[in-house]
Every structure is written in structure tokens, then in C-alpha cells.
Symmetry: C2
Subunit: 242 residues, 2 copies
């Protein structure tokens, strides 16, 4: 426990830094879409409807998703059951944002004239794979850990798989955002190669996002920041996985 | 030790899978540059000189680099000192390939007519940051762990930082490759949006690369695959860090 106590201040500093970078990346992408890309609309103006896509993907699949993963580290003294429900709800929110974000881009492609083809780029392939994996992960996670909840031995066996795919989906989401930034910059930013303010903003947002991603992966995966099993939880084996 | 022994067959399977994915990504990028992009040249033909860039970056910064990081896991029964020298040499090779790969793309930009601007895209920003971090990491690693080799306590304190940046640089390298694939596909593949064979090949290579990346991060970072400190090493504290 003394060992754990030594790691908490370090964790708190890195966690704070990750929140600053995460909020900054959402704000930067908001400024990009809201100011440089002329703001948001739905249906009536496909070009403005598109802007929901980068904004909601960064907000949902990256920022919210990361915080959903981090709650076990950030609120280590809370009851596990409560954290599991919170984790499930945050990831549900992230998933809903992502679906709306996907509808925005498909609508934009289909309602543009001429129509823009869907699902041809590496960005779209990695992005859609990531969202599909996320949906599977969420459903399997719900059935395994919460409702109806499988046998403790099955849950214990599945937990590392859930954690691995959790990180893999996050890395896929960050990569996909970076690819999307590059696509949009090449397609829509006039003279991207002479680095106008919008180009600089996109590149800086990409760098902030990759720093946020790296830090979150570290905080989530490093064993020394892992939630310690309490004595009560050890005595009540079932509760460990509750 | 029994616990470790149980993990070795699982590690070996995943390690083999990672090698298959890694070699496949190098082969795919080789086929892309060698066949679809008309092969390799140096100096005389800037367009063909460019092709060394994706090939050497994937071979050096991704495949070789990953194997340099994995040797501590793959050859766990070898002496640590030997592994450290091997690690340093493989990463030196990865670095040399990367520098030649960078020269290739700068030459291509500068010798094209009209000249193509350098260092404006998110790909170039992340890519160059990654290579610079890699150079710093290599030099600091050499001075800390090998020659002249600092005090054991300093080495022990620096090791987690070295490991964190090692993974961060790898993730930066994979992300940068994916961004480069997207740029090249948009700039050079005719009708990328109708998914010609070259477009499919680029996207598939990107997917293989991200799967390879995810697997390598898992193998390198997961504590259960960590090299166990032998009894001899514990007795000779200095040797643990040798």
C-alpha cells in the first residue's frame, strides 16, 4: 500500500496533464469546425453537417472514451460496481456520439452534388473497423461483467482480452482521427502546402491528439497505476469482479 | 517461475503472429513501391527515389524498431548485456534506414519541378518529431545503459522513461506511416475514390500495419511477458541493469 501511495501523486499529475491535452484537443477541433469550417448544421447544408463528424468523433471516440477507460484509475477508492456502471454509461455516450458523427459524414457524402463515394479511404476503413470493434466490445463487456454477468472465472479470463481490445480500439480511434485530419486538410484547405493558419491549427490539433493518446495508453496500461484489490475484495472473490 | 512458464507458449504464438504481420507489411509496401509505383532509383529519377521513403520507413522505423524492442522478450534466456548491445545495434540500423528514407523524400521534393514544399503536412510533423525523439532516445539510452553507463540507481530511474518513450516513438512511427499512405494515395493514385487495386493494396497495408503495431505494443508492454530477473541478477544488483 505504501508503494501504491507513492505512485498516486505522479498519477494525479499525469492524469491532470492528460485532461488538459484532451480538453485542448476537443476545443481545437471545435475552433477548427466552428470557425474555419463555418460552423455546424444538420440536413439543410451537407458541408456544415459534415463538421459534426470530426467534432463528435474526437469528443466521443477519443476524449469520452479515454475518460471511460481512465475512471478505474482516477476514482480508485470508489466501489467497483459503481465504476463499472459509470464505465458502461460513459462508453455508451461515446458510442452514441460516434454513431451521430458517422451519420453526419455519410449524409454529407450522399447529399453532396456530385455524390462523394463512401468507404474508400484508409481513414474510413480503420474508422469503421474501430467503431464496429467498439460496438462488439461494449455488448460483450455488458454481458460478461454486468448483465447478466458470467461466472467469476469466465470474467477473470475475459478481462485481459477486454483490456487489450479497449486499448486497441482507442489507438484505432486516435489513428483514424489523424488520418481524417490529413484527408480534410488535403481536400479542403486552400494552399495547405503553404501552411495557412487553418493548416497550422489542424497539424497542432493532430500533435495534441497524439500526445493525449500516448499519455492515456500509458496511464491505462502501466501496472503501477492499476487499482489495488482491497482486502474486502480479496475475501469476497466474487466482489473482485463485481 | 511456473507462472512465467505458462505464459511462454502464449507469448510465442503472439510473437510469431507479430512477425508474420510485420514481414507482410514490409512485403506489401515493397510490392506497392516496386510494382505500382514503378520501382526504386536514386538521384536520377526523383519520383522513383521517393519510393525508398515509404519502404525504408516501414522497414526501419516500424519492423526493425519493433524487433529491437522485442528482443528482451523473445530471447529471455540470453545474457542481458548481449541483448542490450543487440538492441542498440538493431535500433542503430533502424535509425540509419530512417535517415536514408528521409533524404529520399527531401530530395524528391527539392528536385521535382515545380519544387514540392517540405514539412507542411501533419504526416511530416509527426514523422520528423518521431525521428528526432528516436535520435535523442538512442543517444541517452547509449550513455545511460551502455557507454559509459551511469550509476545503477540512475539507470533504474531512467528505465521506465526509456520504455515509455520507446513505445511512444513506435506509435508515432506507425501513425506517421498510416498518414503517409493516405497522403500518397490521395496525391498519386488515380481514382482512389473508386478503389483501384493500388488503393486496395494501400488500405490493406495500412490495416496490416496497425494490427502489427497493436500486437507489438501489447507484447512489449504487458507485464506478464516481461523478462524475469534471474536469481544471479538479483544477487549482483549491478548486473540487473548491465
Amino acid at each position: 500500500m505504501e508503494n501504491e501511495a507513492q505512485h498516486i501523486p505522479f498519477f494525479t499529475k499525469l492524469f491532470t496533464l492528460s485532461q488538459i491535452l484532451g480538453i485542448l484537443s476537443v476545443v481545437l477541433v471545435g475552433v477548427w469546425c466552428g470557425y474555419f469550417r463555418k460552423g455546424f448544421a444538420w440536413g439543410s447544408e451537407p458541408v456544415l453537417q459534415f463538421n459534426w463528424h470530426p467534432f463528435l468523433m474526437v469528443l466521443g471516440m477519443v476524449f469520452l472514451y479515454a475518460n471511460g477507460a481512465l475512471i478505474y484509475r482516477g476514482f480508485r477508492s470508489e466501489k467497483k460496481k459503481k465504476l463499472k456502471i459509470l464505465h458502461m454509461l460513459i462508453q455508451l455516450g461515446a458510442f452514441i456520439f460516434s454513431i451521430v458523427g458517422l451519420v453526419a459524414v455519410f449524409d454529407f457524402h450522399n447529399n453532396s452534388s456530385p455524390k462523394i463515394p463512401n468507404m474508400y479511404s484508409l481513414h474510413s476503413w480503420i474508422g469503421l473497423c474501430t467503431v464496429i470493434l467498439f460496438a462488439c466490445q461494449w455488448v460483450i463487456g455488458l454481458l460478461t461483467f454486468l448483465f447478466p454477468g458470467l461466472r467469476p472465472s469466465v470474467r477473470a479470463a475475459y478481462l485481459p482480452v477486454h483490456q487489450f481490445f479497449g486499448l486497441f480500439i482507442f489507438v484505432g480511434a486516435v489513428s483514424s482521427c489523424l488520418l481524417g485530419f490529413t484527408e480534410k486538410a488535403i481536400f479542403s484547405v486552400k494552399n495547405y502546402s503553404s501552411l495557412p493558419p487553418e493548416g497550422v491549427l489542424i497539424n497542432v490539433t493532430g500533435l495534441v491528439l497524439i500526445m493525449f493518446g500516448g499519455l492515456v495508453v500509458y496511464l491505462v496500461s502501466h501496472p503501477k497505476f492499476r487499482r489495488q484489490t482491497t482486502e474486502d475484495e480479496v475475501l469476497l472473490t466474487d466482489t473482485v469482479l463485481e
